[in-house]
Amino acid sequence: MVVGALALLLILIVLPLGSLLIGSLVGDGGFTLENFARAVTSRLYYQALLNSLILGFWTGLLSVAIGVPLAWAVSRTNLPGKPFVRLTASIAYLSPPFLIAIAYVNLFSPNAGIVNVFMRDVLHLPALTFNIFSMTGLVFVTVPHTFPFVYLLASSALQSVDASLEESAQILGAGRLRTALTVTAPLVAPAILSGALIGFVNAIALFGSQAIIGLPGRIFTLPTRIYALFDYPPQYGLASALSLIFIAITVAALYGQRAYLARRSYVTMGGKGARHHAVDLGWSRWLLLAFCILVFAITILLPYAALIAVSLSKSWGLAFWQNLTLDNYRFILVDYDVTRRAIANSLILASLAATLAVAMGAIIGWIDLRTRISFRRIVDYVSLVPLGLPGIVMAVAILEFWLQLPIALYGTLAILLLAYWARYIPLGVRAANTALRQIDPTLEESARILGASWGQSMRDVTLPLMRPALFAGWLLVFVPAIQELSASILLFSSNSITLAVAVYNLYETGHLEAVAALAIVNMAIIGAAIAIARRIAGANEAGEPAGASS
């Protein structure tokens, strides 16, 4: 089993990464650094690198500006409607970013965007129009996906800071503001910074929104530049070099995040229950609520309403409501075989990838936590490597590796599955680790001493206890997999087309109404998956005790 897990990690992650390295360093005439030289000297490429950094920086900053006030409001004040704020953050996070981008194109594209049309042609106020195809626009459509990272980390940090830490400052004479600045802020700062860095890493990896918003405005970023290098004739060497630079940026950010969190680990350790008195905001809580509603409107209400409206209209424009129709749904679900196939493919791929990633995670987690095999740490580290690989980089690596082999995987569902599987192994490992840490080893040991073999103790004790967490992990993989675009865009063929790629292709050909319908279908699948999962998890809890450890 251990050998099998190692072999799989080798094939899924290590060897593709190796091909990437070789591909970037070996040219026609042997070893060369020319690819890297071009990547950093040619304006084409360093501009993309610069754009990616600018995008990541502003996205991270805005995520803090939105996430921290929301986190503070929810965990420390008497803000009305807290469940609404929590829901806003979850939906914003779960909404596929490239669909949000498409929604905003329908509202703010320079010529046809309905808001722009309204401002220009109805109100005759061209000054109030906004061109979404700009860096500002790109940051704007990316932040809804990234601010929830800051929100979640900051609110859990705020909740876990023991109230007595702040009370001790107050009893020593520090006022509320001084306490906030000298005690609370330093305690939660690592969590906030960590959330911002995760937001940064996620933001720069999003191929979809960067292609949809960036390309019409001639704003190239690393993912779109790498993608363009696969136009005929493909430039593998340069693509590999850019990919490695991309990995370096991502890994540096993640390393910084981990190091900072680790050094200040007392922050989230919290200790006993926090017991904070909610700050009474008085009338200003309505101001804060207005801010929350604004965030909701921008991240959810506007884009969803736009997509629904577009999907129901014959032709998108100011008078769309005069000719509503369901034809777009019939087109993508019944008439058009490409979208039908894409939906089926994505369902299959997401289900398989989730199952495989979680199974692999369970095995790796078990090796790491329950055995003393000397190389178990290495297995654990390798399984986390995909965290540092943006989707499109994973695709480049897998492509280069499998193209060298005599097995014709290119263009099949199998190569997509390999990419998804590899990408989501870290999520599976994390879910399994969490589950196993909560299961005391003596629960397994007591089965063994009663006569159970290793297999029987796994079947009767360990796996049943892990099931809820593994199921949650499955969903955690399924949701991003069903909307996966960054890796699929390089690996698909007309037979193995996926949901997100179909959306992107339809968008490129200008079928905005059909795109919107497909987007709604995509979101509906995600919603259904979550609803089913909740139901199953709820049913599980009824028959099972609260804590898995005794």
């Binding site: 629960l443 040991e445 007591s446 063994r448 001493i449 159970a452 009767d460 005790p545």
Partner: protein, 366 residues
């Protein structure tokens, strides 16, 4: 019936340096049907020893046998499931996803016991440990004591020859602990199963055991009946660990025929000497607090020393004092509570040599 023969057992974690060994060169013969306790402070290697016996760990050296069957050696370890033992863990390790009945029945199911017999056995066992009628409950709906009984029942129902218990009472509150102690003792007597019991609580060990093995830093210090270990501690560590003791640096004044005159502070006592303690040797004198009697100043008993009362506390069934000898040496004294001495009073202390021990000052560990 199964006894356990442990021979020259060693186990260390990490380095493999014997200085850091969790268990070092441990030999122990546990006779069949006995209640044997491994006693020592945390980190003394008692739990490691138990886990070696259970087969969860592989020894670095030495063997464990039952009868003529070798269970553990560095080369080969019979896995836990093939040892026919039972084990009760400190945290009970009751499976939270199974009902009480399912927990208890698990071992029988593995042995493919027919359904009817299984139900009879499980119910009889639940009755025996006082869980009758709770079979359908989940563990989270049970108290700590009840969970402990589930763990016991689960281990006993498969009729093991040996039951290993790892501090099973330490998570219970004081009252329940006393009661479970009595129940464990009678359970062992009724079933005749060999119990190997791990605890750091010397009172528990004294009350429960047929034999106590005192461990310190992975080494066996003494193995014997409770009375023997308490009254005749083999060394200073055992004396210190088995109940309260005053330890004074002392000198042998004269020695002959295994006994000698020992001097510590203003005390002069004729005591049996350990081997190698000749006249002039530096030794440790151990005096149990209950070996000291406090008498009024006008008492005429021979061999007393004057002391001054420094602290006094009333413990109900007895009184505890801290007294000082002429040179300021402090002694802890426990006496009958009926006579009261006040702080600051002078008194005479009479010391019962039967309850004093002399150890060589160095060579604490054998």
């Amino acid at each position: 019936m199964a006894g356990i023969a442990i021979e020259r057992l060693s186990k260390s974690f990490g380095g493999g340096d014997t200085g850091n060994a969790a268990v070092a060169d441990l030999s122990l013969d546990i006779a069949a049907g006995r209640f044997v306790t491994l006693l020592g402070p945390s980190g003394c290697g008692k739990t490691t020893t138990l886990r070696l016996i259970a087969g969860y760990l592989t020894p670095d050296a030495g063997t464990i046998r039952i009868g003529d069957r070798e269970l553990s050696s560095p080369q080969h370890v019979v896995p836990p499931e093939q040892r026919g033992m039972g084990m009760v863990f400190q945290n009970y390790a009751v499976w939270p996803h199974k009902t009480v009945f399912e927990n208890v029945a698990y071992g029988l199911k593995l042995r493919k016991v027919p359904a009817r017999e299984l139900i009879t056995k499980v119910e009889a066992m639940m009755e025996l440990v006082g869980l009758a009628g709770l079979g359908a409950r989940y563990p989270h709906a049970l108290s700590g004591g009840q969970q402990q009984r589930v763990a016991l029942a689960r281990s006993l129902v498969v009729e093991p020859e040996i039951l290993l218990l790892d501090e099973p009472l330490s998570n219970l509150d004081a009252k329940l602990r006393e009661r479970m102690r009595t129940e464990l003792k009678s359970l062992q007597r009724r079933t005749g199963i060999t119990f190997v019991y791990v605890t750091h609580d010397q009172a528990e060990a004294l009350a429960l055991s047929d034999e106590i093995a005192v461990l310190h830093r992975g080494r066996l210090q003494q193995f014997g009946a409770p009375r023997q270990v308490y009254a005749k501690p083999a060394n200073r560590i055992v004396a210190d660990f088995m109940g309260l003791v005053n330890l004074l640096p002392a000198t042998v004044i004269s020695a002959s025929g295994g006994t000698g005159l020992v001097s510590a502070s203003s005390l002069r006592l004729m005591l049996p000497l350990p081997k190698g303690a000749a006249a002039g040797a530096a030794v440790d004198l151990a005096i149990r607090p209950e070996a000291i009697k406090l008498l009024p100043l006008d008492a005429t008993t021979a061999g007393t020393v004057p002391v001054k009362i420094e602290e006094q506390s009333y413990l109900g069934n007895l009184s505890e004092y801290y007294v000082t000898l002429a040179d300021g040496t402090r002694l802890r004294v426990q006496t009958d509570a009926s006579i009261e001495h006040r702080i600051g009073d002078q008194a005479l202390a009479a010391i019962d040599p039967e309850r004093c021990y002399v150890f060589l000052a160095d060579g604490l560990d054998r």
